[in-house]
């Protein structure tokens, strides 16, 4: 415990009050540690604003969510009408609702860009693995939050989207049907489902989300931020022990973020006030039709932010299974022939591959589609241990790495685009290739990330005063 600190009786009232608080709660200490004496690299670029912006969107979602819950009715007979009641009869209800629906999409936009930043500059590399893991946890929680929130307006897309996704769990061998029943609370999506999704959406998942966000930031402030050069600024310090390339977060990055926030709010408000449906992508047209369990829509597509993973799900057909089995076989052969490991390990690998192939042949492709969809997210957790590149930042990697990353991003967007469309022969082939590339990118990363000649990394960050 810190010693009790006295101030002069003549000190201004504000200083006395702060001293009173500081003797009981580490207010000044926290402010110093996390703001005014938290040294961040001075060479942050555009991509570094999306962390702060996702925090802003989280606050927008929580605050607007609180007001929505005051008028929303989680009841299959009343839900659709209560949303229209908010849109029409609650003063400023339309604004709150549009902020919340736009916020959901905005959340994914800023989070995807934030993750892209981490991918480019190696922000997940040692010693930042835990920051990355907490971040992946946030992404997973966010997906659960968005999925369950999407059921609440109780429109056709809400209903059938939930029906399709919950039915996927039924494809899991042995426990699947019971698990799906447990999630729904009924044999079809119904009032029980709506009530439990509401509970998860407003209480359970937000609590997890907030906890993970706090852990994410604590871990970040413990090790310090990475930067576009991928250099540890703590390696070069001045006489006072401050990093030479670091600047206090407050005021430099706080004013930076305030500027970014005002630009972001312009884009956000432009959508909220002028195009809240965003051409049917943020609010789907079919969701203005009340849920009807007896009428399946012709085309069911998840909201845009789930579509890359939805494409992976649809890519795994019976035909695709043969390609995947070939991949497993090839992987096992390569490991046995090229891997430098004891014979016991090789035997284990062959055994595991044989077991996996037997399962792939005996279990329905639908299940493996679910595995692909889940695996597409889960594989991100392993990124810190997949990347073997000698340098962190894309800037100092071989040029062809940059092209590979560019192809990866295009691949992800194409998968996302195809996930919106109904399946066709061509789109099915493209998404199968895209899915193989997506997984190949990560699973082969331990090998390809080592290849090529990386460029020399400078001692100090590259910074042009502006």
């Amino acid at each position: 415990m810190a010693d009790y600190h006295e101030v002069s009786p003549n000190a201004p009232a504000g200083e006395k009050l702060l001293n009173w608080v500081d003797n009981r709660f580490p207010a000044s200490k926290l402010f110093k540690e996390h703001m005014s004496e938290y040294y961040a690299p001075k060479n942050f670029n555009f991509f570094y604003i999306f962390g702060s912006l996702s925090l802003l969107v989280l606050v927008i979602q929580i605050v607007t969510g609180i007001f929505l819950v005051m008028h929303y009715k989680p009841d299959a007979a009343l839900a659709f009408g209560s949303v229209e009641y908010i849109m029409r009869d609650v003063p400023w209800g339309w604004l709150i609702r549009y902020m919340h629906s736009t916020g959901a999409s905005a959340f994914f936009i800023v989070v995807y860009l934030h993750m892209f930043r981490g991918l480019m500059y190696g922000s997940y590399r040692k010693p930042r693995e835990l920051i990355w893991l907490f971040g992946c946890g946030i992404f997973l929680a966010l997906m659960a939050e968005a999925f369950m929130g999407y059921l609440l307006p109780w429109g056709q897309m809400s209903y059938w989207g939930a029906q399709v996704i919950v039915n996927l769990f039924a494809a899991i061998p042995f426990v699947g049907p019971d698990l799906a029943l447990l999630i729904r609370g009924d044999f079809v999506v119904g009032d029980a489902t709506l009530n439990r999704f509401f509970s998860f959406h407003v209480i359970a998942v937000p609590l997890v989300l907030l906890g993970l966000v706090v852990a994410h930031i604590i871990a970040l402030h413990e090790v310090g931020s990475n930067n576009p050069d991928g250099i540890e600024i703590k390696a070069k310090k001045d006489a006072q022990g401050r990093p030479l390339d670091g600047i206090p977060f407050h005021p430099y990055y706080s004013v930076h973020d305030i500027f970014a926030v005002s630009v972001f709010l312009m884009v956000f408000s432009a959508i909220v006030f002028f195009a809240p449906e965003m051409g049917g992508y943020f609010l789907e047209y079919n969701n203005f039709v009340p849920a009807d369990p007896f009428q399946t829509p012709l085309h069911i597509a998840p909201v845009w932010y789930f579509t890359p993973f939805y494409s992976m799900l649809r890519a795994v057909t019976t035909e695709m299974m043969y390609a995947l089995i070939a991949c497993v076989l090839l992987g096992a052969i390569l490991a046995v022939l090229k891997g430098k490991m004891p014979t016991l390990f090789k035997v284990l690998i062959v055994g595991a591959a044989a077991g996996l192939i037997a399962m792939m042949l005996s279990i329905d492709a639908k299940f493996w589609g679910v595995v692909a969809m889940g695996g597409g997210v889960v594989i991100l957790f392993f990124l810190p241990w997949l990347d073997n590149s000698p340098v962190k930042s894309i800037r100092y990697r071989p040029d062809w790495h940059k092209y590979l990353y560019a192809v990866f991003i295009v691949d992800f967007l194409v998968l996302g685009y195809l996930g919106i469309l109904p399946v066709s022969d061509l789109s099915s082939r493209i998404s199968q290739l895209g899915t193989l590339f997506y997984f190949g990118f990560f699973l082969l990363m331990p090998w390809w990330s080592r290849l090529g000649k990386s460029k020399p990394v400078p001692d100090r960050v590259t910074f042009t005063p502006h």
């Binding site: 009869d89 004013v255 500027f259 709010l265 408000s269 006030f273 940059k402």
Partner: protein
């Protein structure tokens, strides 16, 4: 900076890739939708649309989330609404419920007439806005003896709803022409033949349908024009704020060498 060149390459690649997929996607079926006039700011048109809606649509369709007194937003007084638009014994603060009994409706038409409160929002799609669809739909009814109601529709083939406005429009017959497209003979709508005249000329009818559809569009989101008006001020405010935060940021960062 390095990143910028890299980002540019990514954006260029993306544009190209998306262009390819979008290009491959541009195809569809059914009759193309006509562009509906947008009169959601024209009070006279909206009032006329409301009158048509109450007189013709509300017999079978509800607008269960729309309150009668919200019509004050389109320039009517509560007294005017009571005198002219409250045909059922509903109170002014109540929502618009159909005169028909839902069970009877189901027996007569084979399906419950859908609620129309947000119909203009729900019917949007790749072919245009929901208003475009409704505008096309209300103008493409034709006589079809094979249908139980005696009517069919080009925008919604095999529709269960009869042509409620036939007195206004009269009876028409679509004229098709066979055209060879992509090697297949296809029927293309050439125009219409007026079989029996209605009480309105085709031009008057189109104008009235324009009013009705604008009303439906307005009813789908009564706050839509307020929203845009407020949005302009919000963006102006944020523009000024951004100017200040930009200079504030620059003022601090000029010290960083």
């Amino acid at each position: 900076m390095k990143t910028t060149g890299f980002t540019k390459k990514i954006i260029a690649g993306l544009t190209l890739a998306l262009g390819l997929v979008v290009g491959a996607q541009a195809a569809g079926g059914g009759i193309a939708w006509d562009k509906a006039p947008n009169k959601t700011n024209d009070m006279v048109a909206l009032q006329n649309g409301a009158k048509l809606f109450v007189n013709y649509c509300l017999n079978c369709h509800s607008a269960a989330f729309m309150r009668y007194n919200r019509l004050t937003d389109i320039g009517l007084t509560e007294q005017q609404i009571k005198d002219n638009l409250l045909v059922t014994n509903a109170k002014i603060g109540e929502t618009m419920k159909a005169a028909i009994d839902p069970q009877q409706a189901k027996a007569w038409f084979g399906a419950n007439p859908p609620d129309l409160t947000v119909i203009a929002r729900s019917r949007a799609g790749a072919g245009g806005s929901g208003a475009d669809y409704l505008y096309t739909y209300m103008r493409t009814f034709y006589r079809d003896a094979e249908k139980p109601t005696g009517w069919n529709n080009l925008a919604f083939p095999n529709i269960a709803m009869p042509h409620v406005l036939w007195e206004l429009q009269g009876e028409r017959r679509p004229i098709f022409e066979e055209v060879v497209a992509h090697g297949h003979p296809t029927q293309v709508l050439k125009g219409w033949e007026q079989v029996k005249p209605g009480t309105m000329t085709p031009l008057q009818y189109d104008q009235n349908i324009g009013d009705l559809v604008s009303y439906l569009q307005w009813m789908g989101e009564p706050a839509q024009n307020t929203r845009v008006k407020i949005g302009v001020w919000v963006l102006l405010f944020l523009g000024v704020l951004t100017l200040f935060t930009w200079r504030l940021n620059a003022a601090y960062w000029k010290d960083i060498k």
